[in-house]
Amino acid sequence: MVKRLSPWLLAGPATFLVLIFLIFPVGSTLLATLTDAKGWLAPYTAFFNSSLRRTVLMRTIEISLITTVISVVLGFIAAYVVAHMPGRLKSIMIIAAVFPLLTGVVVRSFAWLILLGKNGILNSALLSLGLIAEPFSMLYTKGAVIAAMVYLFVPLMILTLAGVLEGIPKDVVEAASSLGATPFAVFRQVILPLAMPGLIIGAVLVFTGSFTSYATPQLLGGERQMMMGTFLYQRAMVTFDWTGASTVAAIMVVVTIAIVVLMTRLARRMNPMAA
């Protein structure tokens, strides 16, 4: 009897924690959005009928997409170089990526507050070059949020892709070039397809991370660049509109899970090594 139960005795406490403190509360939040006094799915009708809310959602999608594209490109270049560097330089580059990654979101966003603020380094530089006459605040713009988000996610992309690119067998690349493929063709037809699954996984992490972020849009975007995360907080803690906050939460959950499920399936299908 004890023997038959022992797997459950061991896995039980952790399962219980997830059940009571994740599935129950998040499930209740989601259920609460299905209906209200005005009827079935009314919270969603209210969300999509409000132009402010639609703007917040569209802005969040836009910022997250731009962040993802830039992070993928920069991350790929950096990871490619990391993967082909000799030992010592490679360690330095990995340290340069790991250090910001392990430093908190608040500290990293704060760095951009100093960079882009009125007394910031960018303003001082532009002033001393005579490009501008007066310091101006670059904060609370879409560009500020995107810059800080890219800064946040590039290290993650580099570390994800460096592992993937190192895993590509060297003979495959050498075979292609010895058969006459140009460097671009090698990249386009050998490296990119082989790196694609890792690239998709990285891109999903960046997109969902940006889509649900709070600290960065709060510090660098403020009220003017409200995103889903900051909007959720504002609904819940400033206006106490809990149905509204729950609706934002539900949209975040649906978008995140849909993207993760679809893209991981795509990544698995695109893996040429698995076929």
Binding site: V18, T29, H84, V107, L113, L115, L232, A236, V253
Partner: protein, 264 residues
Amino acid sequence: MIMQTKLHPALIAIASLIFLILIAPLFIILGAAVSDTPFLTFPPQGFTLKWFSNIFQIEAFRTTAITSLQIAFLGTFLALLIGIPAAYALNRFKIRLPSWLSNVFVLPILVPEIVLGFSLMKNITIGLQLPVYTTLLLGHTLLVLPYAVRVVGASLASFDFSIEEAAISLGCPPLKTFLTVVLPNISAGVVAAFILAFITSINDVSISLFLTGPGVSTLPIQILAHMEQFFDPTIASVSVLLMLLTVGVMAIVEATLGLTFLTK
């Protein structure tokens, strides 16, 4: 070695620039923290350490730093305490547990943190009337549980369970077998899980955001609150202290697992 000669110089230049931009802002914080001005600026004007001593004069920084450390240590410890047995069960009794169970432990990663934080506040602290501190601790335990289950699980996947069976068949009691035979073999995974969990917890914003109350708040939340009112170098000096913590963590990673562990 053949490959590295093929790297285009322009590629190396762009990559170097990327790495420079990754590190530079953190040095800017360091500069701003020692600036002898009542506002944040870079390059620093003058040199002072008064902003560092200022941190210790602000009560809220002291209390929230203590809370953050408590929550990170306790939450990580709890997550390992329940996560290691779960990882063990998932690997050892694969056939006797349903296949969906391992997916349950992915949920804390899949569900957006801010949604989890909001839901914990709405349905646990307010709904079930649980104290804020308890919910905060359990929220963080949940947040880091995937590290305990998955990172330790990866170590267990390469563990040869026949060694364990040998110990048991020679009369060693199960718990002693686990502690003296299994655990030493998966210690790298446990260390990795501990480090990743601790750093995730101490830096967390999105869950803690909703789980603050009278006398309960974490350091990142306090930093955010302080920034909204003051724009002085105190925050820069707090950030420098947090970066020193990161340096410490990296030194531990390098000494125990090697930093390349993080690219896997």
